[in-house]
């Protein structure tokens, strides 16, 4: 190797190092800036939005996911460069956005894109920008009264607040009414490619339900109304140690009334053969054989950070325990925010049918801006948006679950069941759909009315349990000791307390004597003088 060659190599190395120094930050910057994936709908919200706005955007994404839409979302600045890739754009309460934003909207409108304005500010700015100031009416009042019907017979009313209200003058479609200053206007209207919902407070269940229905209508490509999805009565979060008699009573009422229902059971990990569990599963088997179906709740997550492997292990254990008792959960129930974390999405991937509960679990939100979970093609049954005390679903844009708590008294349960029965949204049984799940060692499929677990077809007919007269709980001596530790602890605390007091008394006496005998005892130290 000659000297020139060595020099050349060194120069190349230095050049590569310098290039990498410049390029790496650019790469990391690029990875930090959000990529907006192409999808069915783009939701755009204000730059610098706070947590509460993000929560509402997540709620929108959630309900659109249940409707099987691929949704992307981001702030106005993040979305600008990707807007022309979308045909359907929801502009949610946009007040802060870049200057060029309205120009881009104009191009989209010209290209027959569909724009849904939730709120008033952006619509006003946009119409002004496109020299259509005469096309709207502005009312500078903050309070309005909304009126809306979901089933054509019952009117729902509510009070809303906005900074001001804007209404399009010429409209081709309108639904509901919004009274401001005693003047009736539309609640949702459409004119050409522009759709407008003047109210933005999606934390209000009525506004949220209206939004869900209107978005479904906006996205419906045909004439008339979109499909009506069913609702499911769910006896929610039932623990094996709950009153079996009460569960049996509710099940009997539903079975006798030929009402399809779902029992969402909480997972158990040990002692699956205990008599209490056997009795509980006997009721579940009875329900299973008579139109009821079983789903399993996700284990309560207290992990920080979330460990999907541990979660799957627990789920596998719980499913095994139920399966051994002849109970076959068809789906998984998860907290709503499981849709937004990669790890929980990974767990949900093991189940075809997913129920979501209205509660959010303890989970750190991921910084994604698309509903990744959409890709997994789950059958979603979302929590209903409760407008009345019975929790009845008035939203038919996607399948909803109406929860019933076993803790409620029997009369209230009956009222809820009757409200569901008389609702315009039909009730459906889980047995009319296909389901599946897979764990490390288990595969369950339910297809064509046939449930197969690990290759074996399972009999779903009710077989009563056989109980042993004297169940051996295998509580040996050590277990009894461990059971009594709490009592022992209390006793120990008393003993330690008494001993400590005695010791302190001794110390006091000794110190007193030492001080008193000081002049007699000093000879002891003679040796060190």
């Amino acid at each position: 190797m000659n000297f020139n060659m060595m020099c050349r190599r060194r120069i190349v190395c230095i050049a590569m190092f310098l290039i990498s120094m410049f390029v790496c930050p650019l790469v990391s910057w690029a990875s930090e800036s959000k990529q907006i994936e192409k999808g069915d709908i783009l939701i755009i919200y204000s730059d610098g939005s706070d947590e509460s706005t993000l929560k509402l955007v997540n709620d929108m994404v959630e309900v659109l996911t249940y409707q099987s839409f691929k949704v992307s979302y981001g702030t106005a600045s993040e979305c600008m460069e990707y807007m022309n890739e979308f045909s359907y754009i929801i502009c949610y309460d946009l007040t802060m956005y870049p200057k060029e934003f309205t120009s881009i909207l104009k191009k989209i409108e010209e290209n027959a894109g569909h724009l849904f304005f939730v709120g008033n500010q952006l619509l006003k700015d946009y119409l002004d920008h496109t020299q259509r100031s005469e096309a709207y009416e502005q009312i500078n009042r903050t309070t309005g009264k909304i009126r809306y019907t979901f089933d054509g017979s019952t009117d729902w009313t509510g009070i809303v607040k906005e900074d001001y209200y804007l209404f399009l003058k010429a409209i081709s479609y309108q639904n509901g009414s919004l009274s401001v200053s005693e003047k009736n206007n539309y609640l949702c209207a459409k004119e050409g490619p522009l759709t407008h919902l003047p109210v933005t407070d999606l934390s209000n269940p009525l506004v949220k339900a209206i939004f869900i229905k209107e978005v479904a209508q906006w996205k419906w490509p045909f004439n008339g109304s979109p499909n009506i999805f069913p609702q499911y009565i769910v006896i929610d979060k039932v623990y094996p140690y709950e009153d079996p008699q009460k569960l049996m009573e509710v099940v009997t009422i539903l079975v006798k009334g030929k009402t399809p229902f779902v029992i969402s059971v909480m997972p158990m990990y040990v002692n699956g053969n205990y008599p209490a569990m056997t009795r509980f599963c006997e009721i579940l088997r009875y329900a299973q054989a008579n139109g009821g179906s079983i789903i399993i709740n996700a284990p309560i997550d207290q992990m920080n950070p979330f460990d999907k492997d541990v979660m799957l292990d627990y789920l596998a254990q719980a499913l095994e325990i139920y399966n051994k008792q002849g109970v076959y959960p068809l789906a998984l129930e998860v907290p709503g925010n499981w849709l937004f974390s990669e790890d929980t999405i990974e767990v949900m991937r093991h189940f075809k049918t997913i129920f979501t509960s209205g509660e959010d679990g303890y989970l750190k939100q991921s910084g994604r801006n698309t509903n990744e979970v959409y890709k997994d093609g789950h059958q979603w049954i979302g929590s209903s948006t409760a407008l009345d005390d019975f929790g009845t679903s008035y939203v038919s844009a996607y399948s909803t679950a109406v929860p019933i708590s076993l803790n409620a008294d029997k009369a209230e349960i009956m009222k809820r069941v009757n409200a569901c029965r008389s609702s315009f949204i039909p009730l459906k049984s889980l047995w009319d759909m296909d389901h599946s799940y897979w764990m490390e060692k288990d595969l369950m499929t339910y297809q064509n009315q046939s449930l197969v677990l690990n290759g074996k077809k399972k009999d779903l007919n009710f077989i009563p349990s056989v109980y042993t007269e004297k169940f051996n709980y295998q509580r040996n001596v050590l277990q009894r000791f461990s059971k009594d530790l709490t009592t022992q602890n209390r006793m120990l605390i008393y003993m330690v307390g008494i001993t400590s007091l005695v010791f302190l008394f001794f110390i006091f006496v000794a110190r007193y004597n030492n001080r008193r005998n000081y002049f007699f005892g000093h000879k002891e130290d003679d040796h060190i003088k």
Binding site: N476, S482, L485, T499, F503, I507, A510, N514, H527, I528
Partner: protein
């Protein structure tokens, strides 16, 4: 219930059980010591017997001068005691130092026996047997070569021995002379007070049981003769001779006023070596006397055998298990799932440990202070943990000795030159 739970449960019961035994001993010890402190420890006897003070010494030139000075100053009739120093196969200048002391104190009866590696060098028991062969006293007093007994110590011990025919031996208290030398000696000082003095006093108070500590004790000559001298195979000749005295029907009394001050190991290595020897010696005694634990004829000695068995089997194993559970728990491998199991158990144990030691410190002058209380707390997590290692090492060595049929060797504790003795704390 997992195996970890079983081990945790075992440790909890063992540690708390032994803790309460120690608490009971502390209560008894406290009462006994307070009662004793109402007197000066002396008893009147018609005549003082002839006493032979025996000092086994192997390479002790650093400390022997001081020891001899203290022995020569003892408040005991000059013509009624003799000092026999067995200069046991020393390779230092002990012989010259001792010769000089003999020369400087012609009025005292000082016998120096210089042994070579054929007769001597076989450990403390052998040296004591050599001294016994030339001793003329009817009472034998033993002092280690690093001891400086207080002036009244011998007199108190002898007076108490002669005042009760059922007493085979009387032991005194030993204190740490170099307690300020290092952190280790401060720990040793606290340990000595708590577990040598208070525990001995408690056992004597309840059961008339004491274990001879190896120094600062007097014993009847006739009993030693009957026993055939000291057991040369025993590394803990003191414990061994205590058990033999019990079996002969005598008891051993603890007198807290008879005090000697001794030099303790300043370095961890020397301390470890010394404690390993003690543990091996005690295990030897336990092994050879365990048969008496279930023998009703053995009398109260059975209690001491059981006590030793509890300390070395139950305490050791439970500490090993609890430390193991703690470490594996911290590493995330093991979990205790016992219902009601809480860290409060450990916290209460720590509280009792500190209070238990605090009682001992409170009865001593200049020992009950903040720094000693803080040291006691830290002792639990540092010094006390070393005990487990010592026992473990001694067990391994013991097994090796049996397997390879090794001869028992007296591993002498190394002495240190003391820079200067502090007159008072902070002085």
């Amino acid at each position: 219930m997992s195996i970890v739970d079983v081990l945790a449960l075992y440790s909890i019961f063992a540690i708390w059980g032994l803790m309460f035994i120690n608490i009971v001993f502390s209560v008894g010890g406290f009462i006994y010591i307070m009662r004793m402190y109402r007197t000066d420890g002396h008893k009147s006897i018609p005549e003082y017997p002839m006493v032979t003070v025996m000092v086994p010494a192997h390479n002790e030139s650093i400390v022997i001068q001081k020891t001899m000075e203290a022995l020569l100053k003892l408040d005991y009739p000059k013509d009624k005691y003799e000092i026999i120093v067995v200069n046991d196969n020393s390779t230092d200048n002990s012989m010259e130092v001792l010769k000089q002391i003999q020369h400087n104190n012609p009025d005292f009866k000082i016998i120096v026996i210089n042994t070579d590696n054929i007769v001597g060098g076989k450990g403390k028991s052998n040296a004591l047997n050599i001294a016994l062969s030339v001793a003329s006293g009817t009472v034998i007093a033993i002092y280690d070569a690093d001891n400086t007994p207080e002036r009244q110590a011998l007199k108190i011990l002898v007076e108490n021995l002669m005042s009760d025919d059922k007493l085979g031996a009387v032991i005194g208290k030993f204190r740490t002379r170099n307690k300020y030398a290092s952190l280790l000696t401060r720990f040793v000082n606290i340990e000595t007070l708590a577990y040598q003095c208070m525990n001995q006093a408690g056992r004597f108070f309840f059961f008339k049981l004491c274990t001879i500590p190896g120094t600062n004790y007097v014993i009847r000559r006739e009993l030693i003769d009957q026993m055939g001298g000291w057991d040369v195979n025993a590394l803990a000749e003191d414990t061994e001779i205590s058990f033999r005295l019990y079996r002969m029907g005598y008891y051993i009394k603890f007198i807290p006023q008879a005090v000697t001050w001794e030099q303790e190991p300043q370095m961890l290595k020397q301390w470890f070596k010394q404690r390993t020897r003690w543990v091996k010696g005690n295990l030897y005694v336990l092994r050879s006397n365990f048969k008496y634990a279930f023998d009703p004829k053995a009398g109260r000695m059975r209690l001491d055998v059981i006590y030793y068995a509890l300390v070395y089997l139950l305490m050791f194993s439970s500490l090993v298990f609890s430390d193991l559970i703690f470490m594996m728990g911290v590493l995330g491998f093991w979990y205790v799932t016992l219902g009601g199991f809480s860290s409060l158990l450990w916290e209460m144990a720590i509280l009792l440990f500190v209070l238990n030691v605090a009682i001992t410190l409170s009865v001593e002058k200049n020992e009950f202070n903040f720094s000693n209380l803080v040291l006691t707390f830290f002792m639990l997590f540092t010094y006390a943990k070393l005990w487990v290692l010592v026992v473990l090492y001694a067990l391994i060595q013991g097994v090796q000795d049996v397997v390879y049929k090794k001869e028992v060797i007296w591993d002498k504790t190394e002495r240190f030159e003391e820079a200067g003795v502090r007159k008072k704390k902070g002085g």
